[in-house]
Each structure stands twice: as C-alpha cells, then as structure tokens.
C-alpha cells in the first residue's frame, strides 16, 4: 500500500491521535456543535492554504496573500456599499479578479527579476496594504452596512440541528465551497499538464525549462491562482463574519504557511498534496481552537502555532535532508 507510506498517511495518523487525545482531555470536543464550528473555521484558512500550497510546490513562498485577500474583500464590499449593489456573482468574480491581478504582479516580478519570492511578496504585501488603507479607507464596514446578499450567503447552512435547550446550530455550506475548490485543485495538479508543470518547476526549474515547459506560464498560473484564491477567501470571510475590516488577516500568513508545512509540503518545492494541506489546516485549526477546551490560556496560542511550525519543518527537514555538504 503506497498510501500507507506516504506523508499524507502520517499526517492523518497524527490528526487521529490528536483528536483522541483532545477528546480524552475534554469530551466536549466531540460535540457536534464544536465539530461544526471547527469545520467552519477551516474554510477561509483552508482556501488560502490551497494557494500557498501551490506556491510552495513551485518552490516559492508567499506572504502577500493576506494583503490580497484584504484588497479583494475591502474594495468589493466598499464598492457594493457605495453603489448600493446587492448581488453575489459579480462581487465574488471581482474579488477573484482583484486577487488574480495582484498575483500576476507577483508572478511578473518574481519571474522577470529572478528575485527571491519571500522578499518580493513582502514588498507587494506592503504596497497593497498601504494602498488599500491609504487610499480606500481604514474604517470597518459593519453588519448594519454590509450588503445583505453577502451576509445571507455567509449564513447559509447545509443543515441545522437543535440543542437540548432549543437553540439551533448548523454546518456552514461554505465548507462545500472549500472542499469543492480543494478537489478541483487536486484534479488540476494531478491530471493536467499545467498542474504537473508546477511540480516539475519546483523540483528543478532548469530541467523544466530544458524539457520545454514554459516556466513563465507556470509562474503566472501559480501566483495568479494563489492571488485569486486569496481574493475569494477574503470576500467569503467578510460574508461569514458580516464585517469587512481593512486591517484583517494581519499575521494570518504564518498560520496558513504553518498549516501547509504541517501538511507535508516542502519549501524546496516539488512536494505537497492537496489532501495533506487540507489535513494540515484541520490540525492547525483544531489545536488552536481546542486550547480552551484543554484548559490552556489563549495567550499561548501563538506559542503553540509557532512551535508546531518549527516541529513540522524539523520533521520535513529531516525527511528532505540533503547531502552532508
């Protein structure tokens, strides 16, 4: 069984062990309402993680996607408020396009100037955040101003259950969108030439060029898709929390990157699977959200996330250990 030896299987095993452990510490973990809210928490981080996965498979790293998510979300919501527009398709399409275009900027700079992606994306993140906050505005769009269509969309549940006390809770329908995107990305990565070209580029850019892959096209695919996913996730986030905050997502980069690394992707490129990333996101969100259940103060959250990232990269570094010198 090839799967049992894969890193996905290991991650799945870690997830199972972690769930059993948390459940033993506090059986409340297994309550449906808790599991549903965990799944809901997965959606936005997960969609962003899919984009970061793509970038990491190509051998890069992206810290600009949160800024792009803010741009997609805030520009669209503010425009909707200003134009008194109340729809869904056009706004989400716009957020995707905004994110995609910003991603194109990353791709262009990284490919043309052959500069380290980390430094380029640090720069573009600052540019985009600066422009959004400096030119568009710094104030939140609150629930009372939020376009109704967006809010209602974000409230959609797949099904609703009732607690003993009569209050209800549901499983958000957004999880379907997230998993749909994950499956779509998996299929693209596994079954299309452009998908395999990302792995090929990440494994050895020079060889990819020699074989005849158009590396520029690959870079564009990677960063535009990552940007589009971020833009989409940004708007989806605001529709789920009924709020558009232009200072949102600060520091979320790390959580997302940690989740992707946790999911077995390698920063050296050429490695990483959608399944692993989805599992990595779930582990990260679960542990973050279960600290309270386990009686640990939330101030420890960042320590835990950072430590998880360090642990995950240590394991992958041991796996990918290169030659002695």
């Amino acid at each position: 069984m090839r799967f049992l030896r894969s890193s996905d299987a290991i991650i799945l095993a870690i997830l199972a062990v972690a769930m059993i452990f948390i459940g033993l510490v506090n059986p409340a973990f297994w309550q449906m309402s808790n599991l549903f809210s965990l799944l809901k928490e997965n959606v936005v981080i997960g969609i962003m993680a899919l984009g970061v996965l793509l970038v990491m498979i190509s051998g890069g790293i992206d810290v600009s996607f949160t800024a792009f998510a803010v741009a997609g979300m805030y520009l669209v919501v503010r425009s909707m408020v200003a134009l008194d527009y109340n729809g869904l398709v056009l706004p989400f399409a716009s957020a995707i396009i905004i994110g995609g275009l910003l991603g194109l900027m990353n791709a262009g700079i990284i490919h043309k100037f052959k500069m380290i992606p980390l430094i380029v994306t640090l720069g573009t993140a600052s540019v985009v955040r600066g422009l959004v906050l400096g030119l568009v505005g710094t104030s939140n769009v609150n629930i009372n101003k939020m376009p109704e269509a967006l809010v209602n969309f974000g409230k959609t549940d797949l099904f609703v259950l009732e607690r003993a006390n009569g209050s209800t809770y549901g499983l958000t329908a957004m999880i379907v969108i997230y998993l749909g995107l994950a499956v779509a990305l998996h299929l693209v990565l596994k079954h299309t030439m452009i998908g395999r070209s990302v792995y090929a580029y990440g494994a050895d850019p020079e060889a990819a060029k020699r074989v005849g892959f158009s590396t520029g096209k690959t870079m564009i695919f990677v960063y535009v898709t990552a940007g589009a996913l971020a833009g989409f996730a940004g708007l989806l986030h605001s529709s789920m929390i009924w709020l558009a905050n232009p200072r949102d997502f600060v520091g979320l980069e790390l959580d997302v990157i940690a989740a992707v690394v946790l999911g077995g992707a390698s920063i050296f490129g050429g490695r990483g699977t959608v399944l692993g990333t989805v599992l990595g996101v779930f582990i990260l969100v679960m542990i973050q959200n279960s600290l309270i259940l386990m009686g640990i103060d939330t101030t420890w959250q960042r320590v835990v996330v950072g430590a998880m990232l360090v642990a995950a990269v240590t394991v992958t570094a041991l796996r990918d250990r290169r030659a002695l010198v």
Binding site: I109, G130, G134, T299, V310, R321
Partner: protein
Amino acid sequence: MMMSETKTNATSRPGLRGWLKGEAAQTNVMLAVSCVLVLIAMTALRPSMFLSSYNFESMAFFMPELGILSIAMMIAMLTGGIDLSIVGVANLAGITAGTLFGAMAGDGGSGALGLGPVTLGVSAALIVGLLAGLLNGFLISVLKITPILATLGTGQVFIGMCLVLTGGPAIVGFPPGWNAIGNGKLVGIPVPLVIFVLVCIALSLLLARTSFGLRLKLIGTNPKAAVYAGVKRGQMILYSYMLTGMLAAMAGILLSARTNAAKSDYGASYLLQAVLIAVLGGTNPAGGRGNVLGVALALISLTLLSSGFQMMRVSNHLIDFVWGAFLIGVIALNSWRRRKGA
C-alpha cells in the same frame, strides 16, 4: 565559466580609485547621492519644517532602533539566510526587562529603581536576544531547517511568549534610567544615536577586519567550498544568528526605552523595513555580500524620505506603500544592473 586572462586587464589598484570600482562602493555612492537628493527635495517642498532641528532630532531618536534591526537582518543575510524573528526578539527583550522591573519594584513603582536594576534589565534583555539567536542558529545550523521557516516559527513563539508574559496589554512604567537610554542626551547628542554609531563602527570592523566577518561572507558566497576549505560552517552560522539576536534585543531596548512601554505587537512594520534597508544597502539576500555603511546610508535616505512624507501629511499607510514600492524598485534595479554587468 572561467574567463580568459585577457579579461583581467582592468587594473585594480588599491586606494580610492580602486575602491570606487567595487560594487559595494558604487552602491554606497549612489545611496549617498540619493540621501542628498531626498534632502534637497524635501527642503524645497517644506523648508521651514523639514530643516528644523526638531525634525532632525526626532529622526535621531527613532532611526537607530530600525537601523540596528536592519544591520541584524544584514548579518543573517550574509550567510544566505534571513531572520524573520527579529521584531519578536526585540519585543520579547523589552518585555522581559519590563517584567523584571515590575517584579523588582514590587508595589512601590519602578520610579525608584536605580542604575543597578537598569543594568540588570539591559543584561537580561541582551541575554534574551542571545538565547533567541541561539535557538534560531541551532534550528538552522544543526537541524538544517531553512532560515525562512525556522525564524518564521520562532518569531511566532517569541511574540507568543510576549503575550504570555504581558497577557496582551502593553507593559508601562519603566524606570527613569531605562528611559534615558531612549530619550536622553549625551553631550547634546541623543543617546540612541550614540549607541547606533557605536554599533555601526563595531559591526563594520567585525565584518571587514576580522576572520569572523570574512568567514561569514565566504560561507554566503559558496557554502560548499567553505566546508572544503575548513570553515566551521555550522558554528559560524550559529554565532551569526546569536549576533543577530543580540542586535535585535538591543533594538528592543531602544524601542521600549524611547516609548516607555513594551508590547507584543510593537514595531510590526519594522520587519519589512529592515529587509528593505538591508537589500537597498547592497546586501545580497542570497549571501556573501553586505556592508554596514551601505545599510546606514540606506537607512538615512529612507528615514529622510518618510519624514518628508509625514510632513506633507501623507498618511502612514501610503508611506508603507512607498516602502514596499521602493523594495520592488530596488529589486528591479539590482536585477537590471546584474544583467548589464553579466
């Protein structure tokens, strides 16, 4: 590919003319010129405000902390690494000292704490930096984790520890002696500036005139050849991150001393700015090249620029935009120069 001997006809003689031919020197001359240009432009636009001694003085107080962080970043980049945890280290150092003062002062308030406790606080902060650097260096040189991910992770751990220590809100009420480090003057010169100049001198000597500096640059130029030449690569990288951590802690001392407070998310924008200043100052993020003078000049020109913008009432956010755009511009320029030179 080796070039033929005929290509080496260009004489490289020592002295000023030889120096001017070096790439680092060319960058530095460009930076110095851009400092002057920014100065002239800003003076022309807002002469009365820009040239006021108050303006320069305030720059002299807040510039050093960013400058020291940029030098720390440059040291990490010399070996081809990067340190994304410097801001976390800086805050953790300040908060550790603050927590220590709080404990020492008890209910009486920290106002009564004298020189002894302040020295203790400085040492504690520097030790925090050293240990943080040791952790980074260990992860990078012993466990062979990529610097980006290692320091991204430890940076979160450090910020997380800040939160654990403070519970969230800022720590205030540092003793007066501590404040003097950030706001005092020594024979009319702001103390932070004095510290910064001393750090610059010490670090440029360390990089240019010692075996340690040479070894770091050689590791950054060709890590494999360094091992074959008998350079203790792991050890040197470990030391370089310890140095980076110490410098970050020093910046943390200046930051908390100037603002009289320490908080987990202070100076978050410094990370990008430190990367930018290091790269702008002629540091090669792939390793092997970097000098203190270049970083200092880049710092001055960018500080002048953003201070000028502030005077023209441009929002801070747009200044962030300018910093980011500048970073990309520098990348483009370096790439163009590389291609022309190749």
